[in-house]
Symmetry: C2
DNA sequence: AACGAGTATAGGACAAGTCCTATAAAAAAC
DNA sequence: GTTTTTTATAGGACTTGTCCTATACTCGTT
């Protein structure tokens, strides 16, 4: 569902190939909020094409495979517009890291701490990427294309990611403190009869 | 992957039926960080059973279907323990709401605002649930089971959700301000030639 | 000269997740 | 007194997403 409209959204600005969508759109512009597998992009383009929401023409090339250039149709614009007007409630949380932590009471304190520190590093990396390279690339794109309203909304999504990362870092720090200041002893009946590491 | 270990984790505390896992574990205890479809739980239990990580026995009942009570095996405990020791980096973000916002520059300001307010309400609901009912249920569970270390880690995951929701609310408020204080005019070449609503 | 990276598309296999349906009886709600 | 909910399991169909492979030529690097 979402991928279809993401593709329609990108094509509403510019005709593109599957490859462009993958590299410029999903990897670069929107990578911080939605990733897409290459194979899935091509298959979705095909599906959109049979439904008449996009259309494609072959652009011959020498020395490399012909480009299949996709553009949005009027029906595609209508479908996109209708979808955009539907409210989109924040999606359910489904977080493998939190699940891992949730299931970890049988690990010793130091392993829980290292679990948390690892996450902290990742959140930190993410935050720096969003505030640095990602932000600069977006500003550059805005200058080049002049799409300042597009850019403003994109900036909002960057700041959402940054806010989430910042708050996650604070949360991790708080958790590490709580572990250091003494977690309750292991509950009975856990998984820990399995021999410990080493 | 994750679901398998979530199930093993729950069964490491107590033998349960698929129904118990669905209602008590995934809906109630872990619903804020991982949901699971009923059909998927039963199928995963079957898979775990053929791999020898869980085992089941039928507990006959009168008047209602027999319960198939699953318990974790030693091999299951070993597998769980090994998985818990593997680091789990925070997962990639994939956020349909942010995608929607990202794709919305052709909507008029007031529709973007209502998009944001809708999200704010949902985050608010989530925050109140985590601080209120979810927290109370967890404390009750902790008192009843005496699993105070388990409970402490579970509390951490609740506070992660609460922190995320709080920061999302702040972010939304900031976005609404930015829209009110004047977003740049629509960029040319958008989707908006489609007749507006009404 | 060989090797990897970039440009470009596409199929196969599979895992994960969602939705719907069927069955069945007790208990609670209306 | 009828309807809905709760308890309990399980299959079918489907969508979404991931990973791997194949093809094919160019350009830059070692």
């Amino acid at each position: 569902m979402a991928l279809e409209f993401a593709i329609l959204g990108f094509l509403s600005r510019e005709a593109m190939t599957g490859y462009d969508l993958k590299t410029r759109c999903f990897d670069d512009a929107a990578g911080h909020l939605w990733t897409a597998d290459q194979a899935q992009i091509y298959r979705t383009l095909e599906k959109l094409s049979t439904r008449g929401l996009v259309r494609s023409r072959l652009v011959p090339q020498r020395g490399r495979p012909d480009r299949r250039l996709y553009s949005i149709t009027e029906r595609g614009r209508t479908a996109l517009s209708a979808w955009l007007r539907e409210p989109e409630p924040p999606s359910q949380v489904r977080d493998p890291f939190l699940l891992h932590l949730f299931l970890s009471p049988d690990l010793p304190d130091d392993e829980i701490t290292s679990l948390l520190s690892g996450a902290r590093e990742e959140y930190q990396r993410r935050l720096e990427h969003l505030r640095g390279p990602a932000r600069e690339e977006l500003d550059k794109w805005a200058r080049q294309t002049g799409r300042i309203r597009d850019a403003e909304l994109r900036r909002m999504t960057l700041s959402a990611g940054a806010a989430a990362a910042r708050s996650a870092i604070d949360w991790v720090d708080d958790c590490i403190d709580r572990v250091r200041s003494g977690l309750p002893a292991p509950d009975p009946g856990g998984v820990s009869r399995v021999p410990t590491r080493g």
